[in-house]
């Protein structure tokens, strides 16, 4: 593995063709925004390229495909965007490409350095790095690219609310508005719209919320039964991980979402000085200081909750 900068990453891409862009499973606005922004730029350069994802891409992101030509080909260069660990590719993609990632562009300091070349910098969104690669490729920022980059910036920062925002994040967002990003509609879809089914789910979740450690920690467990009862599903739940931390006095918010196979996806959100990635590391996960994730295996919910709460207790005691 060698570290590369934006110009070197662009240099690698410029030399290659038949480029496969991998996004992470349970895809979010930053991995998709990064993938599709890069895809737009590469196709603009006349290259054959494609974005793939282990999981279905929710239809709300369809606008990112505007102007894209669907291309089928045997990959000769593999790029992973916003993916800290090959495990996050999902089973199918991990098996096919986990061992042959040529370039990774990522903003997670917890990156496991699985790629041949790694362009890694800590910033609010991987899209900030993708923007620099596209600039280095000499491709003009079209409104379509601006939409993708803006999406990554806004979704990874809770629409510019979280502590990961920097002046550069806001300035790049301003630049994407100037380049024609349809920010109003993107914000509406990503942040302002709640389905009736999601609102039902939120009510069930809030009802089952548990406070721990004198109200410093709030935990919600979202079961498959809650999804059934509300008619909601995982794809509507992007924002739910930030819910427990919103309660006054809560410093650490825990969201456990049951998957269909009975395992749990755990999202941890903290306020300074508490470190979410340190909590998740104790359960084999990782991420950022204020937002991180880990897993609980099927059938091990109670044991997993206890390990998680132990990790939270030790973080609250010695942050």
């Amino acid at each position: 593995m060698r570290n590369v900068n934006a110009a070197e990453a662009a240099g690698l891409l410029a030399q290659k063709d038949r480029i496969l862009i991998l996004t992470h499973r349970n895809p979010d606005g930053d991995t998709l925004g990064s993938g599709f922004a890069l895809l737009h730029a590469l196709q603009h350069l006349g290259k054959t390229a494609r974005v793939v994802c282990n999981d279905a891409i929710p239809p709300k992101y369809d606008y990112m495909r505007k102007g894209i030509t669907e291309q089928v080909f045997e990959a000769s260069f593999v790029v992973a965007v916003d993916i800290a660990d090959t495990k996050l590719l999902g089973a199918k993609l991990c098996e096919a490409y986990g061992g042959r990632v040529d370039l990774c562009i990522d903003h997670h300091l917890s990156n496991t350095k699985y790629a041949d070349a790694l362009f890694l910098e800590e910033c609010a969104a991987t899209c900030e790095l993708i923007y620099r690669v596209i600039q280095a490729l000499g491709v003009e920022i079209t409104p379509e690219i601006a939409d993708c980059i803006y999406t990554g910036l806004s979704t990874d920062t809770g629409c510019f609310r979280y502590s990961n925002v920097t002046p550069e994040t806001l300035e790049l967002a301003a630049e994407m508005l100037r380049k024609g990003a349809d920010f109003d509609e993107i914000n509406r879809v990503m942040f302002e719209t709640k389905t009736k089914t999601y609102l039902k789910l939120e009510a069930l979740v809030l009802d089952a919320l548990e406070l721990q450690f004198n109200g410093c920690c709030a935990m919600v467990v979202i079961t498959q039964e809650m999804f059934r009862k509300s008619g909601s599903n995982e794809s509507e739940c992007d924002g739910i991980a930030s819910l427990p931390r919103k309660i006054e006095g809560v410093e650490v918010g825990l969201t456990l979402r049951e998957r269909e196979d009975g395992s749990y996806k755990v999202s941890v959100r903290t306020y300074a000085p508490y470190d979410a990635s340190r909590i998740c590391a104790k359960l084999g996960g990782g991420g950022h200081a204020r937002a991180a994730g880990c897993e609980i295996e099927a059938g091990a919910l109670e044991a997993g909750k206890n390990r998680l709460l132990d990790a939270v207790r030790s973080e609250l005691e010695t942050p």
Copy 2:
């Protein structure tokens, strides 16, 4: 009345002393951010000045007073910030100062031009105009001023979500981060923290939500009884006006809040092309294209709701 620009507004302030800064009743982050930013700047210039408000200022805004000297004096120059109409001063302040406002700095195109000199430009937040006046006064932006300006920018845009955001709004926010605004803590207090009482209120409100016009319009009525039942109060309700519009398919959201005197404060939020200020104008109110307000008198709820829904119908039919 004469229109002035930022330099002329600064010129007027530079000449005067014993400056009283009026903020609007039921104060929000933009009127207070504007008022306190200007107060910091004027006191920095050695002037005697003070911010007043008809209503109690919620304690969550206390950070804006950091470094301010409380000064009591007979006003010789009166400035109104973020106030479109003297009615919005509230009864006491309107009686005392409604007829003698020397300078108004405001971003509402519906401004009734009640002041001797008016610095008016449509932008996301009055704080954008205040920043330009402070620059014209030659005062350096301290972290305290940056906190105030950032608060106005973020609270009037739903933390940079709404369609009123421009590249300039985001760039000014970036500049405020560089000047030391404690944006993380401000966002936490303004957007991320919900009290348990507010969450209870939200559940009651969502339960009573009515959909109109095939789901294009959602209306919530927040009664004093709901405040009593939940233990919440008006000062916790800044964000509630955006709630009805969040439901999928809703283009016009109506929030009616009962005051202690039985009258209702009506907030209207729309998506393009529907014009909230046109709806409110039919009930004697005003505001912006996507966010506006009006009143319903005590005892006239049913008649007022009907007039409001008529205004919504005609807006939905011919936007």
